[in-house]
């Protein structure tokens, strides 16, 4: 892909998403960041390797379980729940670790390489940038789920687990990941100094571990422990409360980061004010404005403008 002959000229077919008019039209409607990410992902060796390894593992464990079955001659042998539990643990591993860490890394790179600045001065809104990043994370987890879903459903054929339970667990997992990735993006955007980046990465690993085991045990409770799907779903909604809450906390602070005004030294834009209240710093510039410019009437420029505006009104 990198070697080109000197006579090479670009043709439209050379761009993946322009190759076919229908694909081109579709790609126009999609978040540009997602298109970019797909292009990049297809060339990333690391991602392809992790993905291949994952597919092999899923295949291997399914085959292993299948081979176990005929050796037991109990007529009512049910291996579906066991296989599901095993596959689920394999599947959520990359979803809980590889993808959030990837999000964190890419976010960090965006700030270090100042590419986020180039993004923010395009006509993309910070909301779209954020959603693009989120979609990239979801797309990746979709790929992992896509690879293991046939096997998860296959568990149904091995008996011991109902289709409703399978779908419930998958839905609960996807919902939790959706919340977790949003928080991850916001959280990754917060840290500005290297030490904070390091700390936030470490804490992300910690949170990922908690998430992994929470998902792991709650799914086992449904599949092996026989807890009803409704309880599971309610449990998921309630257990995600800290995530909604942190989303709210980080949202404003991280939103500022997408408009990369590098004005502040402290690593976070969230501060406790004199009265002990948590405040998010909005447009930080006025923090640093010297006294004489804070009062508009004493600011020569603003007062000039005010004067000319009133003049213009009068005429």
């Amino acid at each position: 892909m990198s070697t080109i002959s000197p006579q090479y000229d670009v043709r439209r077919e050379d761009l993946l998403f322009c190759a076919h008019p229908a694909l081109d039209r579709w790609s126009d409607r999609v978040n540009p960041l997602l298109i970019k990410e797909i292009n990049q992902q297809l060339k990333s060796r690391l991602f392809l390797m992790i993905y291949l390894l994952f597919v092999l593992l899923v295949w291997g464990s399914s085959l292993y379980m299948l081979m176990m079955q005929p050796q037991t001659d109990q007529p009512d042998f049910e291996a579906g729940d066991l296989l599901f539990s095993l596959l689920y643990k394999i599947t959520i591993f990359p979803l809980c670790f590889a993808i959030p860490l990837g999000i964190h890394q890419r976010m960090r790179d965006e700030f270090h390489m100042h590419t986020i600045e180039m993004l923010t001065i395009t006509t993309l809104s910070s909301g779209r940038i954020f959603r693009g990043k989120l979609m990239c994370g979801l797309l990746q987890s979709g790929l992992f789920l896509f690879a293991s879903l046939p096997f998860l459903v296959f568990c149904y054929l091995l008996k011991g687990i109902g289709i409703v339970e399978i779908l419930t667990v998958v839905a609960g997992t996807v919902f939790t990941l959706l919340c977790f990735y949003q928080v991850t993006i916001l959280y990754s955007a917060l840290s500005r100094t290297r030490i904070w980046e390091y700390l936030s990465r470490m804490s992300l690993v910690f949170f990922s571990t908690i998430l992994y085991f929470a998902l792991f045990f709650s799914a086992d409770a449904v599949v092996l422990g026989g807890i009803s799907s409704i309880y599971y779903l309610v449990g998921v909604l309630v257990a995600n409360t800290p995530l909604y809450f942190s989303m709210l906390i980080f949202l404003d602070a991280a939103h500022e980061q997408f408009k990369p005004l590098r004005l502040m030294r402290p690593p976070f834009r969230v501060r406790i004010n004199g009265e002990g209240k948590v405040i998010f710093l909005p447009r930080l510039l006025y923090q640093e404005v010297p006294e004489e410019y804070r009062d508009p009437s004493s600011n020569p420029v603003k007062s000039n403008q005010a004067a000319s505006k009133s003049l213009a009104k009068a005429t």
Binding site: S2, Y8, P32, K36, Q40, T115, T122, L263, V301
Partner: protein
């Protein structure tokens, strides 16, 4: 004319205007000398409205005044050099113009829109090329440009046309499938320029685009910039500390140091003013060339003459500083010849833009 336009034109009259014979010390009078100021006292529609207008821009970082009351204006098709030593506030000003930063006080307008109040509209009108831009991994040239075309909201055929246009203009077609993190400096500068041009903005802000380029790449860049301004009518603000280079690209310049504008106007004006100042200062460097190893003797002789400040010898050349007026100069030369020195050259050292820059800036470090 709407009241806002009126308002704008009033405010403009207090800013110094690039390209006009202005005096930065008294900005209020600046507009009068402009051949086409774009402002009409009678209130009729201006012929040319400024594309970039910086009004009393301040940007402080704590106590550091990175930009301290900078005002200038650039009209369509102008290439304005933004010249200043390291740390003078060029990048800070440009980042404000590109809506990447906000001013502490003052305002800047691009295509008539305020960077504070209408950043989105400014973004449509501006292409900003930073001094160093990050490159995404696992991405090739055409994908990079395609991504930014999408990010600027270009769709379908428009996007493909923009890609073609930019690839042809920057001559990056042959490199279309080269991964961007393997590009040479010259090529990545082209790519940066390509990215800036993808949404075809009327205003380009280029932060030290020539830094790190070899002479050939520099000449090519200069040609691209010339085409952009003359044929495509783009307004270009280009920063550099390599002055001689800007002298060839730009029609006018703003010289900035320690956040303050020291001089602004056409390159010729700046140079002429500097020469005039020099003439007034009566402290001129002369170079004489003498034959037959008389240089040492001439230097000794010169030091005994009135108005000569110092003299030093370099093979057959003698350089000396002289603070007399033209009559004194004439006298000196006459005496020199009468003293039987075999002079074959007597000239005032040519003042280059570089000298003007050195004379105007004082090497202030904040």
């Amino acid at each position: 004319m709407s009241s806002t336009e009126l308002d704008k034109s009033r405010a403009t009259s207090s800013a110094s205007t690039v390209g006009a014979p202005t005096d930065s010390a008294s900005p209020a009078t600046a507009i009068n000398g402009h051949p086409n100021p774009g402002i009409d006292a009678a209130g009729t529609t201006p012929e040319r409205k400024p594309m970039i207008e910086v009004r009393h821009l301040h940007r402080f970082f704590g106590k550091l005044k990175a930009v301290n009351n900078v005002s200038f204006t650039a009209y369509p098709g102008q290439v304005v050099g933004f010249i200043g030593p390291n740390g003078s506030g060029k990048t800070t000003t440009m980042r404000i113009l590109a809506t990447l930063d906000l001013p502490t006080a003052g305002d800047a307008f691009v295509n008539g829109y305020s960077v504070i109040d209408d950043p989105d509209k400014v973004r449509h009108a501006v292409g900003f090329m930073p001094d160093a831009f990050g490159r995404y991994p696992n991405m090739d040239v055409v994908e990079y440009l395609d991504f930014f075309a999408r990010a600027y909201g270009l769709r379908g055929q428009k996007r493909l046309d923009a890609l073609d246009r930019v690839l042809i203009f920057t001559e990056l077609r042959k490199m279309a499938h080269k991964p961007i993190n393997t590009l040479s400096k010259g090529m990545s500068q082209r790519l940066g320029l390509g990215r800036v041009l993808i949404h075809d903005p009327p205003v380009l802000i280029l932060d030290e685009p020539a830094a790190g380029l070899d002479p050939r790449a520099r000449v090519e860049l200069r040609e691209l910039i010339a085409v952009l301004s003359t044929e495509l009518g783009k307004t270009i603000l280009i920063s550099s500390h390599i002055l001689t280079e800007l002298g060839e690209i730009c029609d006018s310049a703003v010289i900035i140091e320690a956040g303050q504008v020291l001089a602004s106007g056409t390159i010729k004006d700046i140079n002429d003013k500097h020469l005039k100042d020099l003439a007034d200062s009566k402290n001129i460097l002369f170079i004489t060339r003498v034959l037959n190893g008389q240089a040492e003797a001439l230097a000794t002789w010169l030091l005994e003459q009135p108005f000569v400040l110092d003299a030093n010898v370099a093979s057959e050349l003698v350089r000396f500083r002289f603070e007399g007026d033209v009559h004194a100069q004439h006298d000196l030369l006459k005496r020199m010849i009468n003293s039987k020195f075999e002079i074959i050259e007597f000239q005032r050292k040519a003042e280059t833009l570089e000298d003007a820059f050195m004379a105007i800036t004082k090497g202030i470090v904040q």
